[in-house]
């Protein structure tokens, strides 16, 4: 007799493995196409960053007439979540799941937070600006709704990026990690550049309806692209699912990570260097405009040159570290290139030479690219196999907090000098202490980093997980389809 139940089960089982969002086997070799697909999550992260810090920054101030200080506070809100990246990473490391997943649920939750924030953001902004009947609405509604939407998007971005990077680290062998880091950085830049142009074109003629369409369109795009990115990326791990529940505390896990040689030092280097490079991000354009009287188009090109330099840095670091170079060498070289770069920026103010500023910007971008790539690669290589999420969370927490604080500090220093009625101030004088401080921070980063470079790499950041591999990956071409 025909066994209907067996037949149906077989069909459903084969159907299920094809259309389930998780991979069935862990592969030793992950093809480049799959890594490219995974790196799409960085595109949506870049999109969210550009939308909030660039496009909405302007739209809120110019079109919606929200006070600039309120806008600055709203945009700084996601920074509150940056230190929690370490906690998110830790939670994903020790996630209990019957399905044996640990990264996918968090990427999905982060995506939902991002989507939810974008979904309510346009209406929150319209209420905040007193559009339509909202003029009579109590003030707290607009304020709290806008704050909630920015918090949701920010938390989602932190979550997706932290756990996404952890998943990428899980997937590739250590020798390939430099290339993956390069890929992730490049995709972040690509997402930022493409979406900056797209938002500029879409919001060329601003109407409230258009604002709603653009932001909600970003929400849908985020879910779609992140869905494609995470599809079938993480393998189910039955042994992890079956393992008895182990209660780790965050403080214990953190103490274990911080107890590793060089880990705290590495985090200090990341904080110092990121602050050093990050301070210039928002000040280069006004510097070019006010001191060297460059036009808006020219100063915008300055930002493009900075991005171009970073791309060159990522490319070089990928090749160099991919061929066995040491990550800490790239970190030191990047920071050391940054110091003369900011010196040249200051020199361009003295001799009033715009081409020199462009060259210095390219050099600074190049150094920042090398430094960023080197620190992320070093973090990945230093991470013990079972603490990848926590390590990358710590990297993200330090990096995002340092960058945010640096941008704020740079702006405050400039405004303070600008406000001080000192005699004989030139147009350049508000910027001089900022760029000098950047050079100083980078010098400090090099000094802190040098012992890591001199130290025995096998002891500090060597291939520690060769013997302790948790997932004995199978060769995909040989593995039979799962039962």
């Amino acid at each position: 007799m025909f066994d209907y139940k067996r037949f149906a089960l077989g069909r459903i089982a084969s159907f299920g493995t094809r259309y389930m969002p998780f991979a069935d086997v862990a592969c030793k070799e992950v093809p480049l196409s799959r890594l490219l697909r995974l790196s799409l999550f960085q595109v949506t992260v870049g999109m969210a960053l550009v939308l909030m810090a660039g496009t909405l920054n302007r739209v809120m101030i110019v079109e919606l007439r929200v006070p600039a200080t309120l806008v600055a506070v709203m945009l700084a809100l996601p920074l509150v979540f940056a230190p929690f990246r370490a906690l998110i990473g830790f939670r994903s490391d020790s996630h209990r799941s019957a399905l044996g997943l640990r990264r996918l649920p968090y990427i999905w939750k982060g995506t939902m937070l991002q989507f939810g924030g974008f979904a309510i953001m346009p209406f929150a902004l319209l209420v905040l600006s007193g559009y339509g009947e909202a003029v009579d609405a109590p003030r707290w509604i607009g304020l709290s709704a806008a704050a909630l939407s920015f918090l949701l998007v920010g938390a989602g971005v932190h979550m997706v990026q932290t756990v996404g990077l952890a998943l990428a680290t899980d997937l590739v062998p250590q020798a390939d990690q430099p290339r993956v880091v390069g890929l992730m950085y490049v995709m972040l830049l690509v997402g930022m550049i493409v979406s900056a142009f797209a938002y500029g074109a879409l919001l060329d003629t601003y109407t409230p309806g258009r604002l709603i369409q653009v932001i909600q369109g970003s929400a849908v795009l985020t879910v779609a692209v992140n869905g494609i990115a995470m599809w079938k990326q993480e393998a189910r791990n039955r042994s992890r699912a079956a393992a008895p529940a182990q209660e780790f505390r965050f403080t214990d896990a953190w103490a274990r990570l911080a107890g590793r040689t060089g880990m705290v030092r590495l985090l200090a280097v990341i904080g110092l260097g990121t602050a050093g490079f990050g301070m210039a991000d928002v000040l280069l354009e006004p510097f070019g405009g006010q001191v060297l009287s460059m036009t808006v188009a020219q100063t915008t090109r300055l930002t493009v040159v900075l991005a171009l330099g970073s791309l060159l840095g990522f490319g070089l670091a990928s090749r160099w570290l991919g061929r066995g170079g040491r990550a800490m060498d790239a970190v030191c070289l990047g920071a050391m290139i940054g110091i003369p770069a900011f010196g040249l920026v200051l020199a361009s103010a003295v001799i009033l030479s715009a081409p020199l500023l462009v060259g210095a910007t390219l050099l600074a971008g190049f150094g920042a690219g090398l430094f960023g790539h080197g620190t992320l690669t070093a973090t990945m290589q230093a991470a013990p196999r079972e603490q990848i999420g926590l390590s990358l969370g710590a990297w993200g927490a330090v990096q995002a907090t340092a960058a945010g604080l640096a941008i704020a500090t740079g702006g405050v220093i400039r405004d303070l000098v600008l406000a001080a009625p000192a005699a004989g101030t030139t147009a350049a004088s508000p910027y001089v202490p900022v760029f000098a401080l950047e050079g100083g921070l980078l010098l400090l980063a090099v000094i802190v980093a040098l012992p890591l470079r001199r130290g025995d790499p096998a002891a500090a950041f060597g291939p520690v997980r060769a013997g302790a591999a948790e997932d004995p990956g199978t060769d995909c071409s040989l593995a039979a389809p799962g039962p």
């Binding site: 089960l9 077989g10 299920g16 019957a98 979904a119 309510i120 209406f123 209420v127 559009y131 009947e133």
Partner: protein
């Protein structure tokens, strides 16, 4: 196909796995529901409908 007594028909998931898949569905519904509610409230504040 194994005849694992834990596996429930028709998906072949164990009971705990099935409950976890279900929990994602429930969580998603809740989150999207709350977000839709907030969005509707905000739209009602800017352009009130129903009078």
């Amino acid at each position: 196909m194994s005849n694992d007594p834990d596996k429930v028909w028709p998906t072949g998931l164990t009971l705990r796995e099935a409950e976890e898949v279900h929990s994602y569905l429930i969580d998603g519904t809740r989150v999207f529901g709350v977000i839709a509610l907030i969005a509707h409230l905000l739209v009602a504040v800017t352009t009130p409908w129903l009078g």
